[in-house]
Amino acid sequence: MAATKTLNQKKKMRNVNNTAYLMILPFVIVFLIFNVYPVLRTLQISFTNYKGYGDMDFAGISNYVRVFKDKYFWISLWNTIKIWVPNIILQLGLAFLLTIVFSDMKYRIKGLAVFRAVYYLPNIIASTSIAFLFQTLLDWRYGSINIALRQLGIVKGMPINWLGDAHIAPFVISVISAWQWFGNSFIMLMAGVQGINKDYFEAASIDGAGRWTTFAKITMPLLKPIMLYVSITSFIGGLQMFDMPFLMGTVNGNPYGSTQTMIMYLYKFGFATRPKQVGYASAIAYVIFFLILIVSVVQFKVMGQED
């Protein structure tokens, strides 16, 4: 690119570069209207007591003060974490195990393409359908799961109240989410392994490194950026959890508010309560955003420093 150019060519390049403005114009207009403006508008609304209609009276930082004092907001954060942590352990753990199995040089497991497709299947289906499917399967009286457990003699007496018990329901949602997402994580980790230069493995085997040494010294460190990527995206996704708990436990996060996530709490004030408390919901949105930001930065720092 840094070749010498005549004056004429430079002039021509400038004209050429002007067409770039034309090319980015649609993006910039729509971006400003539908991405930038709503985010700033939400910020503005968060400093008012707007109800979704009528005036927007300035309310200072009172909405933010309210978020920090609101016990139920922090419970919704705790619920989100309670659902997310078992989910991520199961999801990444399973994906990681599968990656080890399929990249093993000794056993050379076949059929990666087929297994991968089947493991990914639950991820492609809408969470709405998945939520209703499991709600029906797990119904404590008529659900096929409990009826199967009874027929097989595993559960005698009272059937398990999967979705009605505040101690069990959040965990059930974790497991379903993990079931839905492990295939996705597996594909990403596997892509990482396949992206590793084969020379590393050959060099290691010439040096007489065993399978576990190779795995610990070569595969693991080279997979780290992808692990970071998967865990951060999964965490950000986890904090935004909405569809599944919302459909299974309604906006109140039944049973007993145990599955009410942060976004459900935002939705409640922004769209469900009458009258709406849009100003408060906007403040909740910004608090959630800052929580996500802090956690992402910390996660970056922690995982980036291990080298």
Binding site: F34, T42, Y119, D139, I187, G195
Partner: protein
């Protein structure tokens, strides 16, 4: 490579197969139960299909026309995917190939917005759409696809890695105009990258729930996920689990069929997304 090796290998395969069955079992149960009556489902558990498919079908379709939900979802997802693919590649191309004032600002703003969770602007978005009198319309679901920071970012990286700049120089010497060059030379080269993004985008869109839920309120405009979520409002369907399973099955089957044909591309799109980081 003795007997121990073979045994261990067999055990590994069995575990992998069990996991695969776990992934499919809920869907198999769904299909079986969709053909049984609510009473049968409540009484026993089986993998043998029943004979109540027709009744369940009638109950579902007397409440809502699921095919209308399909059609609505298509009406949103197809234009969204096309706009997203075309304008994202155009913007990505401009960012990758040209030098212009404000380029860095645009690039970094876009990267920042990639990290911002969608719900942050949800309230402001709803407020804007309502002020524009576009509630209960597909326009606010479709038009924002023109500006998709994540897709632009991915495609920009893609262009930088696959497009030889000398090709553009050659085109310019031949007197080709810039937009013409983009359409005739660049887009064909970018096609695999664009397809990757388009498939992922289509699925995301097809399954989207929160935004359509918030924006749409007339029943005949509901997209499939919103329609499915209104399922429990019907007492007839709620009273008969067979009908419920059937409704869910109808919502799932088309995407499963599409997956059978496209799984290779879908999976490569996820792989690409992770390696490009």
């Amino acid at each position: 490579m003795g007997i121990g090796y073979k045994v261990k290998k067999t055990i590994l395969y069995i575990c992998l197969i069990i996991l695969a069955i776990t992934c499919m079992l809920p869907f198999i149960l769904m299909l079986v139960n969709a053909t049984r009556s609510g009473a049968e489902i409540a009484k026993s558990f089986t993998f043998i299909p029943g004979s109540h498919l027709k009744e369940n079908w009638d109950i579902v379709f007397s409440y809502f026309n699921l095919f209308r939900g399909f059609w609505n979802s298509l009406k949103v997802a197809i234009p969204t995917t096309i706009l997203n693919a075309y304008f994202s590649s155009l913007t990505a191309y401009a960012l990758a190939v040209y030098k212009f004032k404000g380029q860095k600002v645009l690039f970094y703003t876009q990267v920042i917005f990639m990290m911002i969770p969608g719900q942050l602007g949800l309230i402001g978005f709803y407020n804007l759409v309502s002020a524009l009198k576009l509630l209960d319309s597909y326009i606010p679901l479709i038009i924002p696809a023109i500006a998709a920071p994540g897709t632009v970012f991915f495609l920009r990286q893609y262009i930088l890695s696959v497009l030889p700049m000398s090709l553009l120089e050659a085109g310019r010497i031949d007197g080709a105009r810039e937009l013409h060059m983009f359409h005739k030379i660049v887009m064909p080269i970018m096609l695999p990258g664009i397809a990757t993004m388009a498939i992922g985008g289509f699925i995301g869109n097809w399954n989207a729930y929160l935004v359509p839920l918030v924006l749409l309120n007339s029943k005949d405009k509901f997209t499939l996920p919103v329609m499915i979520s209104s399922l429990s409002a019907s007492t007839d369907i709620a009273a008969n689990n067979g009908a419920k399973y059937l409704a869910i099955a109808i919502s799932i089957i088309p995407i499963c069929i599409a997956f059978c044909f496209l799984s290779k591309y879908i999976i490569s799109s996820i792989s690409a997304g992770s390696v490009k980081e």
